[in-house]
């Protein structure tokens, strides 16, 4: 019975998503696009942090690699941008693999520091390798085309982003519900027991990490397609921490958590934008407060209270 209602709700929601753009003012359209991109990022990061239980403080690096990768492929090699999007994801996933193989031998604090260091390193490279990335000047990205159809405004780009996001969300959901997803969870819950049941810890940790890098890479490519300008200063520690906080505030390890978290954090940051330096202070305080009082996150707490206590 529940499933019947759920499906109806889902279909109605989907229909709304497709129909809504003409009714939104440009500012809101922009925000919706922005939120969708971060939903992709948060869902990806949740696979690593929420499901496998590993810390990653360098996610902005993969976001950036996807953005720069796709931008450079399209500008320097003339590859149509729509193909550059999955390519950007692939490049990011590749680097994710390179990092994961050695880094995931560690855990906890050490992993946090390695990923933090990696994030900083990548941003430094973006700044300093001017021959490739044009350094602090950044890169202007032309609007993507599909044949003769140009994604010339936020409304058109919306559909591109929406479809990509839905596709990735479905994949994430499929993985979570499959044997791999259970393996992830087993690692988070008890590595000892997981090993004793034949779960190859290292393999699955790497898979989760590479998947999240892939998601971040695609989000980066989409970001470039939609904002049309990328520069190194976006992809720093603050960005990585934002991704992290979306996962945590939303509800780590839950399915809807990262979605809720992404919406909450983006709106929060937007609301705080007016107040210059205060933005960081309030944001930082909110993080601390959440950790002390609401460590399960918004959706995590809702789920716990209403769904899990059977």
């Amino acid at each position: 019975m529940m499933n019947y209602y759920k499906t109806i709700l889902l279909l109605v929601g989907l229909a709304l998503l497709f129909v809504i753009p003409p009714f939104l003012k440009p500012y809101y359209m922009f925000m919706v696009n922005y939120i969708l991109i971060y939903i992709i990022l948060a869902v990806g990061l949740n696979l690593v942090m929420g499901y496998t239980g590993q810390i990653s403080l360098g996610n902005a690096a993969f976001f950036g690699i996807g953005a720069y990768g796709s931008a450079l492929l399209s500008i320097k090699l003339g590859i149509p941008f729509l193909i550059c999007i999955p390519l950007g994801g692939a490049i990011s996933a590749f680097f994710g693999f390179l990092v994961a193989v050695p880094a995931l031998r560690m855990s906890g604090l050490y992993l946090a520091m390695v990923t933090l260091g990696f994030g900083e390193l990548v941003q430094l490279i973006f700044f300093q390798w001017e021959g490739l990335t044009r350094g602090p000047d950044g890169i202007v990205i032309p609007k993507p085309k599909f044949g003769s159809f140009e994604f010339s405004n936020d409304y058109r780009v919306y559909y591109l982003i929406l479809i990509t996001a839905l596709f990735l969300l479905i994949i994430a959901r499929n993985i979570i519900r499959s044997r791999t997803g259970r393996a992830f969870l087993s690692i988070r819950e008890s590595e000892t027991a997981a090993q004793s049941l034949g779960v190859n810890l290292r393999y699955y940790k790497i898979v989760a990490f590479v998947m999240s890098a892939f998601f971040a890479g695609i989000a980066g490519a989409l970001y470039g397609a939609f904002v049309h300008y990328i520069s190194p200063d976006i992809f720093g520690v603050f960005e990585s921490i934002s991704h992290l906080s979306m996962v945590i505030i939303g509800g780590i390890g839950t399915n809807l958590g990262p979605i809720v978290g992404a919406i909450f954090v983006i709106i929060l940051l937007e609301v705080l934008k007016g107040l210059r330096g205060m933005q960081e202070i309030i944001y930082g305080i909110i993080l601390v407060v959440f950790m002390i009082f609401m460590s399960k996150g918004i959706w995590g707490m809702i789920k716990e209270r209403y769904i899990d206590s059977r």
């Binding site: 791999t180 259970r182 969870l185 997981a194 034949g198 779960v199 059977r310």
Partner: protein, 261 residues
């Protein structure tokens, strides 16, 4: 050929010998009790078998092939299952999910077919769920299949861990104090299930236990450890009378009574 053959295994932790030249051979479909005072090294034996520790000396053979130096998940994959002294359940997962993870080594779908939910994967998932359901019924947890692991009473948690370890039909099962914390009824049930495992599923079992009545009643043979050394081995009736064993359990002599049949 023995199912498990441990030869000359020595295990040291920073100078302290936890195990000293241990030899043990398990025959097929045998139930072997592993007993000894606290700290004798029993759980260490388990950890060495499952690859969590690498022994300083010695060899371990499973069905004739050496498993020394293999990683724990590889060893599980070869058919060795295990439970733990304190149940290592996946607390925030349901009973069903716990058991499904027990079937991990039987899954063959590729990552891609999982991501795209291809028909092959769907079919396999259904088969796995069926097997899981079957085991849950066998151990009596079918009604609570959707409950979270942490919401189960202790006795059921132990049975869940038990079910999770046997669902993929291992050749060898290591049980670490399975009866600890169980009430009388549960212990009877455990006794019955373990014997069924041996008789119907043809699983060889090595169990660590402190409940003498249970372990003497259930084991075909018993091995006794003390301070990391094997001090006795044989039929329960022989071991019970062995002087060295009695001395090791000084003060616990009263517990070495004949089990009620």
């Amino acid at each position: 050929m023995s199912v498990l053959s441990i030869k000359g295994v020595t295990m040291e932790f920073g100078g302290i010998k936890a195990l000293s030249k241990i030899d043990m051979d398990l025959e097929e479909c045998e139930i072997r009790g592993l007993i000894g005072p606290n700290g004798a090294g029993k759980t260490t034996v388990f950890n060495v078998i499952t690859g969590i520790y690498r022994p300083k000396e010695g060899d371990i053979r499973f069905n004739g092939d050496s498993i020394l130096g293999k990683k724990p998940h590889e060893i599980s994959g070869l058919g060795i299952g295990r439970t733990f002294q304190n149940p290592q359940l996946f607390q925030t997962l349901t009973v069903m999910d716990n058991v499904l993870i027990g079937l991990h080594t039987l899954g063959k779908s590729s990552f891609v077919s999982e991501a795209l939910k291809l028909p092959g994967e769907r079919k396999e998932e259904l088969e796995l769920r069926e097997k899981a359901s079957h085991i849950l019924e066998w151990i009596g947890l079918k009604e609570v299949a959707d409950r979270l692991g942490c919401n189960l009473p202790f006795g059921q948690q132990k049975f869940l861990e038990f079910g999770r370890a046997i669902v993929c039909k291992p050749t060898l099962l290591l049980l670490d104090e399975p009866a600890a914390g169980l009430n009388f009824e549960e212990k009877v049930n455990l006794d019955r299930l373990v014997k069924l495992l041996r008789d119907e599923m043809k699983i060889t079992i090595l169990l660590i236990e402190h409940d003498m009545r249970l372990v003497m009643g259930i084991s075909d043979r018993v091995t006794v450890l003390n301070y990391g050394e094997k001090i006795a081995e044989g039929l329960p009736s022989e071991v019970r009378k062995d002087r060295k064993v009695i001395e090791a359990y000084l003060g616990e002599e009263k517990k070495l009574r004949k089990p009620k049949t």
